[in-house]
Symmetry: C2
Subunit: 363 residues, 2 copies
Amino acid sequence: MTIKISIDCMGGDHGPSVTIPAAVSFASHEPGAELILVGLEDVIRAELKKLNASSHARLSIVNATEVVAMDDPVEVALRRKKNSSMRVAVNLVKEGKADACVSAGNTGALMAVSRYVLKTIPGVDRPAICFPMPNQTETPTYMLDLGANVDCEPQHLHQFALMGSALVSALEDKAKPTVGLLNIGEEDIKGNEVVKQTAVLLRADHEKGVINFYGNVEGNDIFQGTTDVVVCDGFVGNVVLKASEGLGRFLKTVFKNEFKSNPVNILGAFIAQGALKAISQRMNPSRYNGASFLGLRGLVFKSHGGEDAYGYEWAIKRAYDAASHDLLARISKTIAELMPQQEAVPAAPVPGDVTELTHQKTA
Amino acid sequence: MTIKISIDCMGGDHGPSVTIPAAVSFASHEPGAELILVGLEDVIRAELKKLNASSHARLSIVNATEVVAMDDPVEVALRRKKNSSMRVAVNLVKEGKADACVSAGNTGALMAVSRYVLKTIPGVDRPAICFPMPNQTETPTYMLDLGANVDCEPQHLHQFALMGSALVSALEDKAKPTVGLLNIGEEDIKGNEVVKQTAVLLRADHEKGVINFYGNVEGNDIFQGTTDVVVCDGFVGNVVLKASEGLGRFLKTVFKNEFKSNPVNILGAFIAQGALKAISQRMNPSRYNGASFLGLRGLVFKSHGGEDAYGYEWAIKRAYDAASHDLLARISKTIAELMPQQEAVPAAPVPGDVTELTHQKTA
């Protein structure tokens, strides 16, 4: 089976100089992948030529004459740039010509465009952004929402839990992923009203056997890997994600300064360079690149805007894995089984309601 | 001027074996401090004897026959153990016999007891927990609230900002500390309704010249040290604090494992041990020990429950500095100038409304 992925080649801080090398590399390594490069045709052709990949059999080009800038307001991306590489790449998913889309563009614009073009799955009120966080175990902690929804009701967090569970079962091949509800204590009485009511919904699902609800988890559990999925509202999730990036950057500065502080330390660092490289690789945020937009009638993956080709390729890989494991059908099935059926309302995107996911890079 | 501090000697995971050595050490180094050791008299005397400090001129003992256990429900601490070391230590502040109190006991119980005994400052609806976070600059980022208030209205965050500003101006000797409002983007349109309305209140204060409002800050700004104070609700603050502890612990594990992974790395680590020690010291959470309970008619400082004597001494030092810089009067003055005057309602503490601040230790 061939998996087709549309690539918004113009998105991100670096555009084609990052997205196209990543696409070429991924297509070369993954014979089951067919990539559709969307953007300014001349620019894409020139980049492919540089890489000696002009006639790659599993790379095709779709021209798109406009580009959504990283600082374009959501409204501009949505209403004025209808032939942007971002919009066209998402359209390809809508039209069934691609199984998933990858973009490193402006998060707010990408969510608004995706939601407008693809609509939500029946039973899902709001799409969520899900991101894999590194932890002490072998597989990451999938955390959602990370910024698409700042004011959530219990039913929204409930839907996030179901979608996150379906995502992990698809991507990590786990039958019953554990789901934790982010709170400020383990006990049921802890937390705000929204979280307490969400716990009631999740416990009911757990008793029906449709979700593996672990219970409340706390901030430290994210990096301990206590559960496969951690559910929270987009405000909390976004703050935690950025705080973690900030702490990582701060620690890196402290380390660099100390290891360069005198010749003895420089020598020690030189001798232990194997350890330092291994640490750097393990903690490399590029390995965790690729946030999923869940709850849409199509798969959309967001790469970090400042990512390099290595990191962008990870986002393509996540999109590829999700599509080849039929993530969309799994989420739809999970939601359909659990939620009171209703036709999805073609909700108008809320401008300003989506924040930039990761505006700075840790590494 | 002598500053008197009451010490809840029985509080914390280790009780007198940590609190008393810390008190003895602090009193020996700080001639302006007089410490009142509160708890089971026999136990305190025995501990002092071990340390050859039985007749220290600036250490006195106040007997208290009960002990609040770390897992005692708030109600038990508040209504059943009226002669606990915690309660008596706070009473001493109320009675003017101590200028501040330090406890490593259960956070929820300590907040409930403090609020019940001391009451809030006129104009303050709810006390908040404030904690200094390490960052890239010389002085920490003071963040509040960290768990006392999970559902906040704009006026609460507004009061936290004023109290945090007064705290930093007292502790760090800064005339106009910068105050940031934790959000998911820098732009005014970002965030939930509570945060947006809080920003309006803070901008008005800024224009009056009574607060130095920087604007919105994001998670990464905490560790960058963008502002002196970061204001958020207790849910977000508690999650961020614990997530940071968790990430720190995770990174420490990764480092330890890699530096021990083979003889070459062990040698490198041995040679660069100066750097590793300096890093460990800089990042030692004990140095940041001592959360302030702000908004009460008395100074209360909370030590981490699992802290050692070195860390506990830092909490005593924070309490001492706050009292000697007249923090209480400064906060009252700031609030009185800015808030519509009203008599403080002797609010009953809300059971379950306060979470354990730091239930695990990073180092």
